[in-house]
């Protein structure tokens, strides 16, 4: 850290002389478990400037934010404020340097009042809470943002937009000069978005520097002065918003032309197995209709929050739906519960592997047969038979497990995912939905999962793959649905789709 400061201090002299740069990031790198999340990232934010930080999921935006918020330290590189190197070793340090962060997941206490939330640690050093003073202080903070609402009400009862305003008021409490907003509009509806954007513009006029993370490019064009595009931890483009275009930003986000790997050729889809009609869930999914055929892979792409996982869960009966119909091979079935979905032949490999995909407290041999046991309403389990089953899948899926009786918590991510896959293979499925099937697993295991998906297809199973990794969606899918805002934005033909076209639709399509 100290080296960083020294080196940064010298460098500051040269860069700070050019303009009134408030925040400068110089050559920041960060690796997690050998994965390079950020690689020598540098950019500036001027006083009263709005910088749009954009990139695909996993491009490194969150890591930058965490470093600026003092939640994580960089491996190398320096952060400069007003030309001076700063050591953001803790959130308190970051706050002291005038950096305020509003995360996507709200950090308010829902059962405390607005006033309590706004002054929670503002009264440090005093053992007694001065209620009247706290209320006045809170009212003043809100008034500063042009807001007026009852500060004695519980945060739980506020609308999402109001909560966010409180969050911003809280962030600005310490006279923050740099405000970081992490996808602030992702959870807001139309009017609220406008209010928020107006607020940001007002802050900008008051000289606050804003780093604005967003997936919605139309907002970026309406609000930002400058942009920084990250891809795989590297800055792929930066400049003035006025001098770029929607298409250029998309191609900077996606970067390389993806070279398609050899795909299983001559794959022919059979009869429709799963038909989803007009599936809706209030506020989450809007009129989703599609079908998947036997022996076909349907990819579902979209940015985080676009509703991909929600579609999978709705089909599987894991979440309630408002209206719509799910038909498996001609048998109409209300998607009422996971067990009903399982009995009709649907399987789900969920996104949250460890908490929803398998039982980390149980062994490989206890995990694999569990769906089949429940599906067939079996009363008994046979440890000896389970062991045989586990050894069979250990062989065919090449699960690297020393002892099938040991808890799966000790397996690597890739091997855990194979156990999840084995659960469904053992139960027998006609439709298998895989949600982020290769997230966080190594390349070797990835390839094996891909092979299994192709095998399932060859066996006439309808497969749905949801993935944030566009190359993965492109190389696996026969057809691709692109989701945006809880609706299907486009359907693309797999073999001819490109990352650019997917991203174009994923960020909201032709609106710009």
């Amino acid at each position: 850290m100290n080296n960083g400061n020294g080196a940064g201090g010298e460098e500051a002299l040269s860069s700070a002389s050019t303009a009134d740069v408030r925040l400068a990031i110089r050559g920041v790198s960060k690796a997690f478990l050998g994965v390079q999340a950020l690689n020598r990232v540098s950019f500036d934010v001027g006083a009263g400037e709005v910088l749009a930080l954009i990139g695909e999921n996993g491009a490194g935006k969150s890591t930058i934010i965490k470093i600026l918020a003092g939640a994580q330290g960089p491996d190398e590189g320096a952060v400069l404020i007003d030309g001076r190197g700063v050591n953001l070793s803790s959130p308190a340090e970051a706050e002291r340097h005038g950096i305020a962060t509003v995360y996507q997941e709200m950090s308010l206490f829902p059962d405390l009042s607005v006033a309590e939330n706004l002054t929670f640690d503002g009264q440090k050093g005093s053992a007694i809470i001065h209620w009247r003073q706290a209320r006045q202080e809170a009212t003043r903070l809100l008034a500063d943002l042009g807001l007026s609402f009852d500060v004695t009400q519980r945060v739980r009862n506020l609308s999402v937009a109001e909560k966010q305003m409180v969050e911003i008021a809280k962030a600005l409490r310490q006279n923050a000069r740099i405000l970081i907003l992490d996808e602030p509009t992702a959870v807001l509806g139309g009017d609220d978005v406008d209010k928020l954007l107006a607020l940001v513009k007002d802050l900008k006029r008051r000289g606050v520097s804003v780093i604005f993370v967003s997936h919605r490019l139309d907002e970026v064009f309406g609000l930002a002065d400058k942009y920084v595009v990250l891809r795989d931890g590297v800055v792929t483009g930066t400049g003035n918003i006025a001098e770029t275009s929607h298409d250029e930003l998309v191609s900077l986000m996606v970067g390389r032309q993806w070279v398609r790997p050899e795909r299983a050729s001559g794959r022919e889809a059979g009869a429709p197995i799963l038909t989803v009609s007009h599936l809706s869930r209030a506020g989450v999914l809007h009129d989703i209709s599609f079908e998947v055929r036997a022996g076909e892979v349907l990819g579902i792409a979209g940015l985080r929050g676009a509703g991909r996982t929600e579609v999978a869960r709705a089909i599987f009966g894991a979440d309630p739906i408002t209206s719509g119909e799910v038909v498996v091979s001609g048998e109409e079935r209300p998607p009422s519960s996971p067990i009903a979905a399982i009995r009709s032949g649907i399987g789900l490999v969920p996104e949250e592997r460890k908490s929803a995909g398998l039982f980390t407290n149980l062994s490989t041999m206890a995990n694999i047969p569990i769906v089949k046991t429940m599906k067939n309403r079996r009363a008994w389990v046979s440890p000896r038979h389970d062991r045989g089953t586990a050894l069979k899948y250990k062989e065919t899926l090449r699960i690297k497990v020393a002892d099938v009786a040991a808890p799966v918590a000790s397996l690597s991510g890739g091997n855990q995912q194979k156990v999840v896959l084995a659960k469904w293979l053992e139960a027998g499925v006609r439709v298998l939905i895989l949600d982020e099937p290769t997230r966080g697993i190594d390349i070797g295991a990835k390839q094996e999962i891909y092979q299994q998906i192709n095998k399932l297809c060859a066996a006439g199973i309808a497969v749905i793959v949801i993935s944030s990794e566009l190359p993965e969606v492109l190389s696996l899918s026969d057809r691709i649905l692109v989701m945006h805002g809880g609706a299907i934005q486009a359907e693309l033909d797999g073999p001819t789709a490109t990352e650019e076209r997917i991203m174009y639709h994923a960020v909201g399509g032709a609106r710009s």
Partner: protein, 337 residues
């Protein structure tokens, strides 16, 4: 031996293992502690090994043990049952009142067991369908059922004639030279161990305790399983109530006031995690025996009942540290930093 086996045991404790070996290692810690205790006692308290005393230990372990086996089912789902002591009392009272009103003994016993089943089922319905936290739900039934017992008896114990053969079997006689409550405990333990091991229901308990969401997405009938688990806990507590009342010839509305805590203690000492999904009935058997041995030794040595409670408290903490991951993690952190 105990120390050496520590890391492997905590790891193996997570397993629903098939091999006798893993079953053995899973219970090595309580077993090891028990062995050490017994050897120490053999030297220090020679009276302990008299047959009459050993049988007495078995009898003492039986009541808490039967309750604890039932509570194990609930704790495996990451739940808790605080109402077992109250159920013990109300089932004894129910039986006493029915006997005195001329009901045949077998019917009275069945009615008492049914009362336990009903209360347990109410616990399960509240936890599974109304999403009331098990702690609160069973606390509420505990209070209400205690009140019910007092109301039924107007606050005093109900004497009844326990000369019927079935009461002898339930509480007073010996079977094959062993105290009958101990034989019942053995029988219930075997049923519990087999159910957790060989029934899909047992597997479901571990699944729910491991991850409720994963269980739901794997097609486990989560609600039904929870209701049955609490029902079993209720029936076991009621059986313990029948055993207690049969032995004493009394339905006491304040019997078993500490049984819920003793039962939970036995489960925890036996290595079943309060977080759910880990442990099992074998550990609970050892836990119950360990508690009984400890009380017995302290009685023999002449430690006052007050001091005995203090020792018990210390033993609980020691047992949890040895069987759980806490100690290992703290030690690991130490060595790292």
């Amino acid at each position: 031996m105990t120390l050496k086996s520590q890391p492997t045991t905590s790891a193996a404790a997570l397993t629903v293992g098939p091999t006798p070996l893993s079953r053995l290692t899973r219970n090595l810690v309580p077993l090891g502690v028990g062995v050490i205790l017994v050897v120490a006692v053999a030297v220090l308290v020679p009276n302990f090994f008299q047959l009459s005393n050993i049988l007495n230990v078995g009898r003492q372990a039986a009541i808490v043990g039967v309750i604890a086996i039932g509570v194990t089912f609930v704790i495996l789902t990451a739940g808790i049952d605080l109402s077992v002591g109250a159920i013990l009392a109300v089932s004894g009272v129910t039986m006493a009142l029915l006997i005195n009103s001329g009901t045949p003994a077998p019917l009275a016993i069945l009615a008492a067991l049914f009362a336990g089943l009903a209360i347990g089922t109410i616990n399960g319905l509240g936890a599974a369908f109304l999403h009331i936290q098990p702690f609160i739900m069973t606390l509420a039934t505990m209070v209400a059922v205690q009140g019910l017992s007092l109301r039924l008896t107007s606050g005093g114990p109900i004497q009844f004639s326990n000369d019927d053969a079935i009461f002898m079997v339930m509480g007073k006689s010996q079977i094959l030279g062993l105290p009958s409550p101990f034989v019942i405990f053995v029988f219930v333990s075997i049923l519990g161990i087999l159910a957790l091991r060989y029934l899909a229901f047992g597997r479901s308990l571990y699944a729910i305790g491991g991850s409720f969401e994963a269980a739901r997405l794997s097609g486990v009938p989560t609600r039904r399983t929870l209701v049955i688990a609490y029902g079993i806990s209720g029936v076991c507590a009621a059986l313990a109530g029948v055993m207690t009342a049969s032995r004493l010839g009394t339905g006491d509305p304040v019997a078993g006031s500490l049984s819920n805590l003793d039962a939970i203690t036995a489960v925890v000492i036996g290595g079943t995690s309060l977080l759910g999904g880990r442990g099992g009935a074998v550990g609970t058997v050892f836990g119950a025996l360990l508690l009984a041995v400890l009380s017995n030794i302290m009685n023999l040595v002449g430690i006052s009942p007050f001091d005995q409670q203090i020792v018990k408290g210390v033993v609980i903490i020691a047992a949890v540290l040895i069987t759980g991951d806490n100690l290992r993690q703290i030690l690991k952190r130490r060595t790292v930093s």
